[in-house]
Amino acid sequence: MNDSLKATFFAECEDLLEALSSGLAVVSEGAHDAETVNAIFRAVHSIKGAAGAFALTDLVNFAHRFETVLDRIRSGTLEIDAEVLRIITRSSDVLADLVEAAQSESGAIPEAMDGLVQSLTDLGEAPAAGGAAAADAFAFEPVAFAPICLDLPAAERVFHVAFTPHRALYENGHEPARLFAALAELGAVEVRCDTSRLPELDRLDPAESYLSWTIVLRGDIAEGRILQVFSFVEGLCDLTVDLVDEGVPHEPPALLVHESDGTDKGGAHMAPVDTPAPAAGPVGAAPGGAPKAARPATPGQPAAAPAATLRVDPERVDKLINTVGELIINHAVITQKVIASGIPQNSDLMADLDDYRHLAREIQEGVMAIRAQPVKPLFQRMARIVREAAEATGKDVVLVTEGEATEVDKTLVERLADPLTHMVRNAVDHGIEPAERRAAAGKPLPATVRLSAAHRSGHVQIEVADDGGGLNRERVLQTAIAKGLVSPDAKLSEAEIDNLLFLPGFSTASTVTNLSGRGVGMDVVKTTITSLGGRLTIASEPGRGSVFTISLPLTLAVLDGMVVSVGSETMVLPLASIVETVRPRPGDFMPIGPTGTLLSIRGAFVPVVCLGDVLGLGRHEIDASRSILVLIRTETGSQVALAVDGISDQRQVVIKSLEGNYRAIQGISAATILGDGKIALIVDPDAVVAMASQTPPLSPLADMEFHNDRRAAAG
């Protein structure tokens, strides 16, 4: 079996599993119709059918049991109650696991499988209905026709076959001649046609069957083989097969032939029978007739009706996106050069350049749209995570999703899977209180985890909210102090305490259960989101629950930024975090502590952070006469003024990963290429503020070697 076929199979499985889980979601809402159940059945059925081709026995067997149950639901002999729903939902999970195991060739058997097999078998066996259907295994032999034949390697036997086709035999596309040809493969045949029932030509019904045949077949043939030839026409003809000579070795059997009919002259070969059957048979059935000319010159033409979707290798789209990014940069380069050459702004050339920009943007949007994908499949996966987490913790939790149709870049969808999984598990594991505590607080059961997606002013916002007990800030703070992440006498705001969750080293074995798992803490979630150019914030209310909000740029490729200069370097600040820019007057500054500076703005005091300092790009004094301050809002909601040396531009930039060839850099989220072809780094303002505040202590800067495994960083 070739690999491309396998790849097709697994890609198809992915689609089918998605269809399965969509269908199950509808069913679980209690709003299913026959077509939904049909679609679910078909998904499992198709997986089973194709899996068989690859001899994926575990998968086929499990799918078969699953399908049997679904078939009962489809036919209305099994009602979907809560228990049935639970079993089929868990079965869909196991099916997905089996597909994954098959793909990775791990041979792993999902833990839950054995239990489910039993449940499915129980459900599959109709108590009232004839249980025979379930027992019907994968046999190819026709049932009614299968006298058990022991194929004794006997010598030549002689069979008499009497064959009278019914009209339906022809209607089903059969040709007696072809059956005889098949018999001829078994042994020597003599065929005799009986035309005695043929009416006069004027009374002849072309569709009726008037002919019958007797065949003498000889050879070392088991009777079963003969019946097999006729297996497709069972019920469409009168057929008798008689063994007339047991076949004593070397005995000449010729006698029998003459005995049966002495008048036969031309029936011994295929050619004569071909023509008479059935008298004026429809032209279509005659092989090699005139209709052949009507065939298109290229019979192997592609599928006449192409599917509504197009499968494209994602790499091709990525390449296209990259090239379009280059095109946009190229536009910027040309524009800059044209301006530098002194051509007036209102010239035709500038107008043409503007058209160029529009076209490039249009192409970009179009290409981006190819990769746009609803978050639905991602959310559906989370339903499973909630189920598993709820089962493992013994909590009663439902997942409510909103905005499933929200479209985001495919790459985003993929890269969000891990962080979202972690957040959802966390919500069930840590967010939702145990049932007794909920009951005591008078809160409803089941508990709810709400997953929502929405577009908000050029961003995608994804929220994971639970209606649990909210963050235990006291415990969070104690943990952070115990781990030396904050000093014991630190005075932290509620938002600051909440954000301690995102500190590297906050999550430990004692707080990360096996469930929340994989030893990944919220800090890794945060890092991943940041590397995607997004932000992660938390809001929590005691007794009411917590909301984690991920805000992401619509695409990975473009960011609205402000181009600033820091010393000799040019950098980009994401516009999303910028509140305003301030040109301070000397009186606006107020020193605090040995090195700190505060900016007084509209009666409030905002800490000033020198961007160049933090990033180690030489020493910078905050010079009231030269510095420009960019006021940013951090993820905790507080404001910080970043001091830079100049602001040159505000524009969209194409995001280029630094991690691809280098590694993640603290304080920097990515890079971009400016109009002059130079690289500018894109600043991660929150990381810069965190670095400046020294709470938490910075991770050792000496640890700035190349990453051997980039994925380790993305978690």
Binding site: L615, L617, N661, Y662, K678, L681, F706, N708
Partner: protein, 155 residues
């Protein structure tokens, strides 16, 4: 891992020889993507000493390393006389700043001598063999060890 794999039927491998820190090195030609003149780079915050910054290679951001500094042979003050050898190693593209690139060597396995184990330091650890060229020794660079090896060992 440290073998010099034959690249063609004759069991010979082609190397590009270059000079960094006044020593001669060579890199397997199949590991080299291109060779270009030095152009100014964008500095990276808190980068290790040998990392000079990043450069735009036709739309891709690649880090540029001072090979001499990386090997502990003192650093190069880059100028347009210097050359960047763009290499691909472990799926990443990296530029190496060197003093000059001299020639292409065809090396057969029997020409390669093992590196005498003198001291465990970068300069020798990243060298997987020596090859004699016209009376001069050129060091065969093990890019995997040079650019990714530390992590692997530490892990």
């Amino acid at each position: 891992m440290t073998d010099v794999q034959p690249q063609d039927d004759a069991g010979a491998t082609e190397f590009v020889s270059l000079v960094a820190g006044k020593q001669s090195f060579c890199i397997k030609i199949t590991e080299i993507r291109e060779i270009r003149r030095w152009t100014p780079v964008t500095s990276l915050p808190h980068a290790e000493h040998a990392v000079l910054g990043v450069m735009n290679l036709r739309g891709t951001v690649i880090p540029i390393m001072d090979l001499a500094a990386k090997l502990g042979l003192g650093s190069i003050e880059p100028s347009t006389r210097h050359v960047i050898v763009v290499v691909a190693v472990q799926g990443r593209t990296i530029g190496l700043l060197v003093e000059s690139v001299s020639e292409i060597l065809t090396v057969t396995n029997d020409m390669v001598r093992e590196t005498p184990a003198v001291r465990r330091e970068d300069a020798t650890r990243c060298i997987r063999g020596l090859v004699e060229v016209e009376g001069d020794l050129s060091r065969i660079l093990d890019l995997g060890a040079l650019l990714g090896g530390e992590r692997e060992e530490a892990a």
